[in-house]
């Protein structure tokens, strides 16, 4: 049994950005003060998460049990290794996004900036709540809060297109929510508990195979909408109508990763590998994920709008993680967790670049990007790093996570999955690297003259994101012991195995 420490820190980590919301609203007349609250909350959040790190690395979980919200089910937060990975990724990238947002909304002259920053803060609270949820009901509550808090950001521009995308987003997100409610209530009825348990809370019980399959599909439909598993993905490209920092943090990191994180919890902590294997649930999941990877990559090839292309790329990469979960072997599980972090740093860099190009040059289409590498060298270099990473080229961090995933597919003996991953690497290269080529090796039009880099508020964060991707590629354990955390989390779910016994990344 795992040791646990009682502490209010997880609660603070969740609450600090929520506490910033009234302050942000209150100082709506003074933009500088308002942005100060956002930055203060972002740093405080990251520091609190870091403060949790030593305990978790020492193999203990940090718990905070609040009031009961249903008989025998409490609002219960718990920092375990898997949750810490997600919490570290989202809280640290929120700092970058906050700086970037300030540059972006001011540069682009966006309206309703107070609503924007306030909603962002609520989203981050909900994201950390999802990361630290210790049971399914707590998870469900934060999951729904995240759905609603993202809505004002999707419709931010309040154009007809934005409203349409917002409605579409709500239909998908709320439908997923009610499906998840059904799944959670059914789980409670079957097992009498909702507490996440490494190895599966349903694992040591006997069930009807058909029941279990339906329950699993309900869960996957519930979390699969945010995870962009096809055929539930179509809200995501539409939501690209939102301002770019929203696309960057929420639609590449927080919201969509909450869906993927939900898959991780469902596979590793609700059903558990052994139960999944006996009932053949892994094959269902793998089939959906594999198809999503291939289709999304193919569709991305055809998109001219840069953000939409990145959105389809996101859909594909989310399913890398889902595919990793479906393998049910430690290497692939670790690979999935690593890819959760790696895709976050690389994709956020790419989105930041797209936003910088839009604010600076008002260009949104890939075909307009000829020669901009000369004008915006830092931005496009960062873009190149991200593009290399997502194409699976070393030494960027996404290479290593993908390597681990590939190891996992071999270990699991699922060669079609390996083929899908390799194929997708090529397709990624095919839709991302030509952009780099255009930017640096083609000549741009005359309208580029006189333009330079975007403001430092935007360029510094995107360079930091790219640098992080490289640093974590060279040293996976740099800064926050991410790799150790991943191993701890994997060992909890697969207690009998030693991942990467034959030498890992």
């Amino acid at each position: 049994m795992e040791e646990s420490v009682s502490s209010a820190l997880p609660l603070f980590a969740v609450g600090v950005s929520l506490a910033a919301v009234p302050l942000i609203l209150w100082s709506r007349g003074r933009p500088n003060l308002r942005e100060f609250w956002t930055l203060a909350a972002a740093f405080a959040k990251a520091l609190i998460v870091l403060a949790l790190l030593p305990e978790v690395l020492a193999g203990r979980t940090v718990e905070c049990r609040l009031l009961e919200i249903s008989p025998e089910i409490a609002l219960h937060l718990k920092a375990d290794p898997v949750g810490m990975v997600f919490a570290l990724v989202s809280s640290s990238l929120w700092i970058l996004t906050s700086f970037y947002s300030i540059g972006y909304v001011r540069g682009a002259g966006e309206k309703s900036q107070t609503r924007y920053f306030a909603s962002f803060a609520v989203c981050l609270s909900a994201t950390l709540g999802i990361a630290f949820s210790a049971n399914l009901l707590t998870f469900l509550i934060f999951y729904e809060i995240l759905s609603i808090a993202t809505y004002p950001l999707v419709i931010h521009k309040e154009t007809a297109e934005a409203l349409r995308s917002g409605r579409q987003y709500l239909v998908y997100a709320l439908s997923a929510g009610v499906v998840l409610i059904a799944a959670v209530a059914w789980t409670y009825n079957l097992s009498g508990t909702l507490d996440f348990r490494p190895g599966g809370l349903l694992a040591d019980r006997a069930f009807e195979a058909a029941d279990l399959r339906v329950l699993f599909l309900l869960f996957i439909a519930g979390v699969g909408v945010k995870a962009g598993i096809m055929p539930l993905q179509s809200w995501l490209p539409a939501a690209m109508v939102a301002p770019t920092p929203v696309s960057a943090l929420l639609h590449a990191v927080a919201v969509v990763k909450s869906g993927v994180f939900g898959v991780i919890r469902v596979v590793g902590f609700v059903f558990g590998p052994s139960l999944m294997k006996t009932h053949g649930l892994d094959a269902i999941l793998a089939a959906f994920a594999g198809a999503t990877i291939l289709f999304a990559s193919l569709i991305a090839l055809r998109q001219d709008n840069l953000k939409i292309r990145l959105a389809y790329s996101t859909i594909g990469h989310l399913s890398y993680i889902v595919l990793g979960m479906a393998m049910l072997v430690p290497e692939a599980f670790s690979g999935g967790l690593l890819h959760l972090a790696a895709h976050a740093t690389t994709k956020i860099a790419l989105f930041f670049c797209a936003g910088a190009i839009y604010v600076n040059l008002h260009k949104t289409e890939v075909s307009q990007l000829n020669g901009i590498g000369r004008v915006m060298p830092w931005t496009m270099s960062a873009f190149a790093v991200g593009a290399m990473g997502l194409s699976g080229l070393p030494p960027v961090n996404a290479f290593f996570s993908k390597y681990a995933l590939c190891l996992g597919t071999v270990e699991a003996g699922r060669l079609p999955a390996l083929a899908v991953l390799l194929m997708s690497g090529l397709l990624n290269a095919a839709y991302l690297l030509p952009i780099v080529h255009r930017a640096f090796f083609r000549h741009g039009g005359r309208e580029l003259e006189g333009h330079g880099e975007a403001s430092a508020w935007m360029v510094v964060p995107l360079c930091v994101a790219a640098a992080l991707s490289l640093l974590l590629g060279f040293r996976p354990n740099a800064l926050v012991h991410l790799f150790d955390l991943v191993l701890l989390g994997t060992r909890a779910v697969f207690p009998e195995s030693v991942p990467f016994a034959g030498g890992g990344p």
């Binding site: 009031l67 009961e68 919200i69 249903s70 008989p71 609002l75 469900l140 509550i141 729904e144 809060i145 609603i148 419709i155 309040e158 154009t159 007809a160 409203l163 917002g166 409605r167 709500l170 239909v171 709320l174 439908s175 929510g177 009610v178 499906v179 409610i181 059904a182 209530a185 059914w186 409670y188 009825n189």
Partner: protein
């Protein structure tokens, strides 16, 4: 010390208040309103005292005039009726606070009679819940109904027609109920609830009793506006004055639901044994139909109050499903939903009245985002109550749905689970339609037509605060629902579940 007299005090305070209002407010309507406020506050205080007493010492029973039941009339406060009394008197108090400004605006010079009638409605509703005698319940039912017809009739122009229709349907319902009582009395010789439940436990249900129960069910269902007997409700709620709707809509139909709970689950026993009447299943299926029908029609409405009225039909369906499931979880969900829906619907109707006061209308297509800037607090209260209606956590609405869903799954009744969840989505459709207009720019309007600056024009505090208080209460109820479920609803779960 809380004695059994407190049972009787609640309706009596209302009744005497209703009589004193015309005396005090003869010349100045506002003074009459002050009297009504005092009576409503007193009743709320007594119901809280009653609840505390029931929690401490179990059920209280008071014999009117010292006559022992079954000859005399018995007032009983058990956990269920004490809980409902708090809901009724609480909403009643806030509604009376709200009344003054709203009535002065919508139906000038009618404050005094309005206050008096409002207290009479509350007399009837609180009496129905507290009495231990089915015939006495009928008397209170008629008091609340007659006062309710009058209250609804003083509204917009079509209100008198709506009230007439309500009168017709209501009288039919009450007659069914009375006829049912006659059948029961004929066979069993008593109408005291405690006696009835003891007798029904040992005797076989004869055909006469079965017919009586069926009539009783029909009468209560009609008053509850259970689909397909809901026809009177939308017009009545739409055309009545805002204050009347805000008083009747949150609690009126619930009290009819209480009759069904009392008769089907307590008197007949959870087993429904031997009666040969699948009344509980019928209730659940009608409830499911009501949920779908009400939600779909709510989506089609362009008048806010009418939309809320159809939504009430749907929400009554939730309660019917919960009761019809005939299990501890379903019962918990149903009773919790009575509280939740009372708070949500009262808040929503309070806000719609505020909109009528400030905008002069409450037609959804004419809402713009100027509304949010002019009335930020009203809009926020509306939004929170709407999220709760949709059933998003951590608001109260989520948790009643959660218990109902658990109850449906427990018995593998997937139809009801599907209905509950699907209706959340329909709720989302009709509430986001309003919220979108309230909060967002409407593309297609030329920038020149947009109001550049909107002056703050919030509803007056007496109309705003009740709405804000109830909407905030939704969060408190949501997070504290375990306390309510364990301490208040737990003791009232009928034996045998």
């Amino acid at each position: 010390m809380i004695g059994p007299q407190i049972c009787m005090l609640i309706p009596v305070v209302y009744l005497f208040g209703a009589l004193l209002v015309p005396l005090i407010g003869w010349r100045r309507g506002a003074a009459g309103w002050g009297m009504a406020l005092a009576a409503a506050a007193g009743a709320f205080f007594f119901s809280l005292g009653g609840l505390a007493g029931v929690l401490q010492r179990g059920s209280l029973s008071y014999h009117l005039g010292g006559w022992m039941p079954p000859i005399g009339i018995e007032f009983v406060m058990d956990p269920l009726s004490a809980f409902l009394e708090v809901v009724i008197t609480g909403i009643g108090l806030l509604a009376v606070v709200y009344t003054r400004r709203s009535v002065e605006h919508e139906i000038p010079d009618r404050l005094m009679p309005f206050s008096s009638l409002a207290l009479l409605v509350l007399t009837g509703l609180s009496g129905m819940v507290i009495t231990g005698d089915l015939f006495n319940l009928y008397v209170f039912l008629e008091i609340s109904a007659l006062a309710g017809y009058a209250l609804i009739a003083v509204g917009e122009r079509p209100a008198s027609y709506a009230a007439f229709r309500y009168l017709g349907m209501g009288t039919v319902g009450a007659s069914f109920y009375l006829l049912g009582l006659a059948f029961l009395y004929m066979t069993l010789g008593t109408l005291n609830m405690a006696d009835l439940s003891r007798m029904l436990a040992v005797t076989d249900v004869s055909a006469t009793v079965a017919v009586g129960l069926l009539l009783l069910f029909m009468g209560a269902a009609l008053k509850m506006a259970l689909f397909p007997m809901h026809g009177w409700l939308p017009d009545a709620y739409t055309h009545a004055s805002s204050a009347a709707t805000a008083l009747i809509a949150p609690i009126g139909t619930k009290v009819a639901g209480y009759i069904l709970i009392r008769v089907l689950l307590y008197l007949l026993g959870a087993g429904e044994k031997g009666s040969g009447l699948p009344l509980l299943s019928l209730l659940a299926y009608l409830g499911a139909a009501a949920v779908i029908y009400g939600s779909i029609l709510a989506v089609c409405q362009s008048e806010l109050k009418r939309m809320l009225a159809y939504s009430s039909i749907a929400q009554v369906g939730y309660i019917a499903i919960g009761v019809g499931l005939n299990s501890a979880l379903g019962f918990t969900g149903a009773v919790l939903h009575i509280l939740n829906h009372a708070c949500m619907k009262a808040s929503l109707f309070f806000v719609s009245g505020g909109l009528r006061l400030r905008l002069g209308h409450s037609r959804i297509p004419r809402f713009t985002n100027a509304l949010r800037r002019a009335m930020p607090w009203s809009s926020a209260a509306f939004a929170l109550a709407a999220l709760s209606m949709i059933g998003l956590p951590p608001t109260a609405g989520f948790f009643s749905k959660w218990y109902l869903a658990l109850g449906a799954i427990e018995q593998s009744r997937w139809l009801f689970l599907g209905v509950l969840l699907f209706s959340s989505l329909l709720n989302a459709v009709y509430f986001f339609r309003v919220l979108e207009r309230m909060y967002l720019d409407r593309p297609g309007i030329e920038p020149a037509e947009r109001p550049t600056s909107v002056a703050r024009h919030e509803a007056p505090p007496a109309m705003l605060l009740p709405a804000v208080a109830l909407s905030s209460a939704l969060l408190v109820i949501g997070l504290g629902n375990t306390w309510i479920v364990d301490r208040l609803i737990g003791p009232m779960i009928p034996g045998g579940m």
